[in-house]
């Protein structure tokens, strides 16, 4: 979330699309209700199902699963053709005025530079026109009048002009009047003192165009001037209690902690690596905050390799593994399926249930030499080798994998910090020991590491240096405490740290905890495990454990409760809540303002505190442009979004580019051999399927909890009345749902909540599939729903397409 949970109460309009907060995030959804009650805010819900969020909305419209870009692209077109944008904001705070390379093209569903063999783009033409100014700096060219046909604004207008209301209705199935009604409601927030917030979740991310779904909304929010405002922003309602924190710690291949892009084979040495990641400003006077990259990275190297990291050995740069390609979860299981992996650890993760195409995942696990499952509960994955009848049809005697199952403590048995969706890091305390011999996750990893370290110290082996030199300053090496670790994450001075403006002034003495990432250095004098968490444990102590919930501004900022990254800032990009002169667009909801000498107010300013408005330092400090990107060349599948059909679609052609079969699905999405072949076709699998969550269950976890099992004991699928009639299925009948990868059986719930839509002139039915069952649990045993889902991900994030695929259904 760019904003945070309580801030939702400051909105004038709340849009829920690609999510269902009333059921998936009920206690956060209360702030939607508060906004409705206290501000008379309106709630709009767009969803394939009439969800419980829809039930309390002011306006609801159905949409076909997998057609969100068509809908949102239509909103952009509406805003531009009806001139409902926040002009000053768009002109100054976005790259609307930036001139784009004249060779950039969009034709017949594809952007310039497409390579069909590689299924990827050469982005050479997706850049700005540059000019060299006096002094030798190179900056992007702009046209402040926004009239140049190659400026981002004009290209945006042209691109989305095809998304007419008729086209939107044809592709999404949303009635045209409903679509236009929603456009009108959204357009009202173009007024400088009105804001809309968007609450989305996996309904947007779990598509082969997931990132572009969100991108399209980001374009809308910047056109409306809703970023940085109280009650505005782009708000991802995330999954687990610490999914935000684990993302920040970057437990994935592409990044080191703090979103520091990990080195690849092309980064042959530290110098090359740093140069590529330390951008130059693209406009004069901009903060270009990533220019500090060498400080973040060097401080991380010091946190990891301690005294062994020196300027003589490039702070241990060589020890860091270099990446040679993709290692996301789909890529990992593909490798495993090809027999290229030997060992695998699942730490609190149940991939057999939660990754697409269960058969492929199960077959892949059976090719491992060893599998380690660390979990508080009996997961389905830990028993992938065991026959559970048609729920898991395998022969244990033929599966050679050695499987270890290690009992872990759960949240109640553990001390440490969680980061909520609003980026607020909060400390929690252990209440009791876990059952039996269970151990904490930290102790399990640390003990395993100490064993490996001892083996390498004694027997040697391949490159023991990073193992033997790994900094491990813990009182009990097999049991580091969460406090020790959070202090390391937050950062400390290794030598005295001096004020850059006055080299005689010490701002942090050697050994002290640092106050924040501004104090990090690239000369080895500071260490910091995750720069964005910098200062969360300062000399003042553990700020994540603060429990002062006072809210003097009434905006719900609670600056003394926990610690929000970065720098305890609750609303990021908050400089954009003010006009160029530093006056808030809406003084009643002042986030920050220019006082005449500094930025101050009800939040930590997202701006250099003394940057006077006439210095023209723009609010989006993390971009070298200083502004938000309407045109975003960083995306893998286009600097603008484009509607592509899901990989399993009820349509033969993409209605936006009917003559180009290459543009039917996301042309830049990665598809493995063998997976393309098992995508189902509409003639065999005529119904759109979408997976979803229930208010009574959480993923594959609460199926082990008796109370939740009592509330929702048995697996079901949901269909509309029209489809039920067509197929002769009655409420409570047992049905079989098949995709081209497998089947599940469940009870049919026939409801009015799922409408039959008309798509491109054809009646289209949707089957809703809740996800929560499996063969282990205290619920009735059920099928793993990901037996059905396709093995393909978003072109940027590789998040699997769980939300739009094809099935058939019949009475079982």
């Amino acid at each position: 979330m760019t904003n945070h949970w309580v801030d939702i109460k400051n909105a004038d309009l709340i849009m829920v699309m690609g999510g269902n907060a009333a059921e998936a995030h009920p206690c956060g959804f209360k702030w939607v209700i508060e906004a409705k009650k206290d501000r008379k805010a309106k709630l709009v819900v767009v969803d394939p199902r009439f969800t419980r969020s829809a039930a309390v909305s002011d306006f609801y419209a159905p949409v076909r699963a997998g057609s969100d870009i068509a809908f949102l692209g239509g909103v952009i077109n509406y805003l531009l053709t009806n001139d409902k944008i926040h002009h000053d904001y768009v002109k100054n705070y976005t790259n609307a005025s930036f001139l784009i390379n004249p060779d950039f093209k969009f034709e017949d569903g594809l952007f310039s530079g497409y390579n069909p063999e590689k299924r990827s783009y050469d982005k050479a033409t997706w850049g700005y026109q540059m000019e060299t100014v006096k002094g030798g700096d190179s900056f992007a060219k702009v046209d402040p009048t926004l009239q140049d046909p190659n400026c981002a604004f004009q290209l945006l207008k042209k691109h989305y002009s095809r998304y007419t209301p008729d086209m939107v209705s044809k592709v999404t199935g949303t009635p045209k009047e409903s679509f236009l009604k929603i456009c009108e409601m959204i357009a009202e927030t173009a007024a400088p003192d009105k804001t809309m917030t968007i609450c989305y979740a996996l309904g947007w991310t779990q598509h082969s165009v997931g990132s572009q779904n969100i991108r399209t909304m980001a374009i809308i929010q910047t056109l409306l001037g809703n970023m940085g405002m109280a009650g505005g922003g782009i708000n991802a309602l995330r999954g687990h209690a610490n999914v935000q924190g684990i993302t920040d710690m970057c437990l994935y291949s592409e990044n080191l902690p703090g979103y520091i892009s990990a080195p690849t084979d092309a980064d042959v040495d530290r110098k090359t690596y740093l140069e590529k990641r330390t951008p130059k400003p693209l406009r004069p006077n901009q903060m270009n905050f990533p220019q500090n990259f060498p400080k973040w990275f060097t401080s991380l190297q010091k946190a990891w390799y301690g005294n062994a990291a020196t300027d003589k050995n490039d702070y241990g740069y060589e020890w860091l593994p270099k990446r040679d390609g993709a290692y996301d979860v789909l890529a990992i299981f593909e490798r495993m399926h090809q027999g290229k992996m030997n060992g695998f650890v699942c730490q609190g993760f149940n991939p057999l249930a939660s990754v697409s195409n269960k058969k492929k995942v199960g077959d892949a696990l059976a090719k491992l030499k060893y599998l380690v499952v660390i979990d508080p509960l009996v997961t389905d994955t830990s028993e992938f080798w065991k026959n559970h009848g048609e729920l898991n049809e395998v022969d244990a005697s033929k599966i050679p994998t050695e499987v270890f199952r290690l009992p872990a403590d759960c949240f109640a048995e553990d001390t440490g910090s969680f980061t909520n969706s609003g980026r607020v890091i909060q400390w929690h305390w252990k209440a009791a020991d876990g059952p039996g011999e269970s151990k904490g996750d930290i102790e399990i990893i640390a003990t395993l590491f100490q064993k490996l370290k001892a083996m390498y110290a004694k027997d040697g082996g391949k490159l023991p240096d990073p193992i033997l030199n790994l900094s491990w300053p813990h009182r009990i090496p097999t049991k580091p405490s969460s406090a020790e670790l959070l202090m390391e994450i937050s950062g400390k001075a290794l030598g005295d740290v001096f004020d850059p403006k006055d080299k005689t002034k010490v701002i942090a003495k050697a050994g002290e905890q640092l106050a924040g990432f501004a104090q990090l250095r690239d000369d080895g004098s500071t260490s910091c495990g995750n720069w964005i968490y910098g200062g969360c444990w300062s000399q003042a102590g553990n700020l994540t454990a603060r429990r002062d919930n006072s809210d003097p501004s009434g905006l719900g900022q609670t600056l003394l409760w926990g610690f929000a990254w970065p720098a305890n800032r609750r609303i990021i990009y908050n400089r954009a809540s003010c006009d160029l002169s530093g006056k808030p667009w809406d003084p009643k909801r002042t986030v920050i303002r220019w006082t005449g000498t500094a930025w101050a107010g009800n939040d930590i300013p997202d701006m250099r505190p003394d940057a006077a408005p006439d210095e023209n330092v723009m609010p989006f400090i993390m971009t070298p442009e200083g502004v938000a990107r309407l045109f975003a060349p960083g995306m893998a599948d286009g600097p603008f979004s484009e509607h592509y059909e899901p990989f399993e679609t009820p349509l033969d052609k993409n209605p936006f580019s009917p003559n180009n079969p290459k543009a039917l699905n996301n042309p830049a999405a990665r598809v493995y051999k063998g997976d393309m072949e098992v995508f189902g076709k509409a003639k065999d699998f005529p119904y759109v399927a979408t997976t979803y969550r229930l208010v009574e269950h959480f993923h594959f976890w609460t199926k082990h909890s008796k109370l939740n099992a009592i509330l929702q004991p048995e697996q079901f699928v949901e269909i509309g009345e029209e489809l039920a009639k067509e197929k002769g299925i009655a409420n409570g009948d047992r049905v079989k749902v098949r995709s081209n990868r497998g089947f599940i059986k469940a009870v049919a719930v026939v409801s009015k909540r799922i409408a039959t839509l008309t798509i491109d002139g054809k009646k289209t039915h949707t089957v809703g599939i809740p996800i929560h069952w499996g063969f282990k649990g205290v619920t009735k045993p059920g099928f793993i729903t990901n037996t059905l889902t396709p093995y393909v991900g978003d072109a940027n994030s590789q998040t699997p397409e769980f939300k739009a695929f094809l099935v058939n259904i019949e009475k079982a």
């Binding site: 610490n242 949240f411 909520n420």
Partner: protein
């Protein structure tokens, strides 16, 4: 005549109507209006967080015992933390069942191994489990570690071993797992955040 509350009812039960007894001047001496004591009054309260969705609701966990060394804490109740500015004491139907998740019959209690081709779990000690896992990892790493790529560039990676990280573990677990994984040269790892 001193009559306790209990005796008073006994008397009533003996056949006389209570009201008439009272009218005759008998009434029980002031009764101890004892309400059953509040169960959580003697419990220890610990501040924690619901591990389910990313609202990360504050919860209060109540345990028996006073956290002294010889008192084994047992969780008896979990409810929303009214001080938490986000959930303000509420919990949803998922979180309302937290105690049953903590106490689930499906909690793992001991390390176990399933040997190749076997159809059952076998209990083993922590030391055996972790030693066997470490041996597997070292053998795998030493056999498959890639020091240089085909262009002769030092790459120091180990990609025959993979790891999936929990999004319900705390930040500190995430951090130390990452630190250990990269130090081993692992590149094939991912998190629930992806999906």
């Amino acid at each position: 005549m001193q009559v306790s509350r209990r005796q008073f009812f006994k008397i009533c039960g003996a056949g006389l109507s209570g009201s008439s007894i009272a009218l005759m001047g008998y009434s029980p001496t002031s009764a101890l209006a004892e309400v059953r004591s509040y169960k959580l009054a003697h419990a220890t309260e610990t501040r924690n967080m619901c591990p389910y969705c990313s609202v990360s609701c504050g919860v209060l966990i109540y345990t028996t015992g006073d956290k002294s060394k010889n008192a084994k804490a047992d969780i008896i109740h979990i409810e929303g933390d009214p001080d938490n500015p986000v959930n303000r004491g509420t919990l949803c139907p998922k979180g309302a069942g937290l105690l049953d998740m903590v106490k689930s019959p499906n909690r793992l209690k001991f390390p176990e191994v399933r040997e190749p081709g076997s159809n059952e779990w076998k209990r083993i000690s922590w030391d055996d489990a972790l030693t066997r896992i470490a041996k597997h990892m070292k053998a795998d790493r030493d056999a498959n570690f890639i020091e240089k790529n085909k262009d002769g560039v030092t790459v120091n990676r180990w990609n025959t071993f993979g790891f999936l990280a929990s999004s319900a573990a705390n930040n500190e677990t995430g951090y130390i797992s990452h630190k250990v994984l990269r130090s081993l040269g692992a590149v094939a790892f991912d998190t629930q955040a992806r999906i």
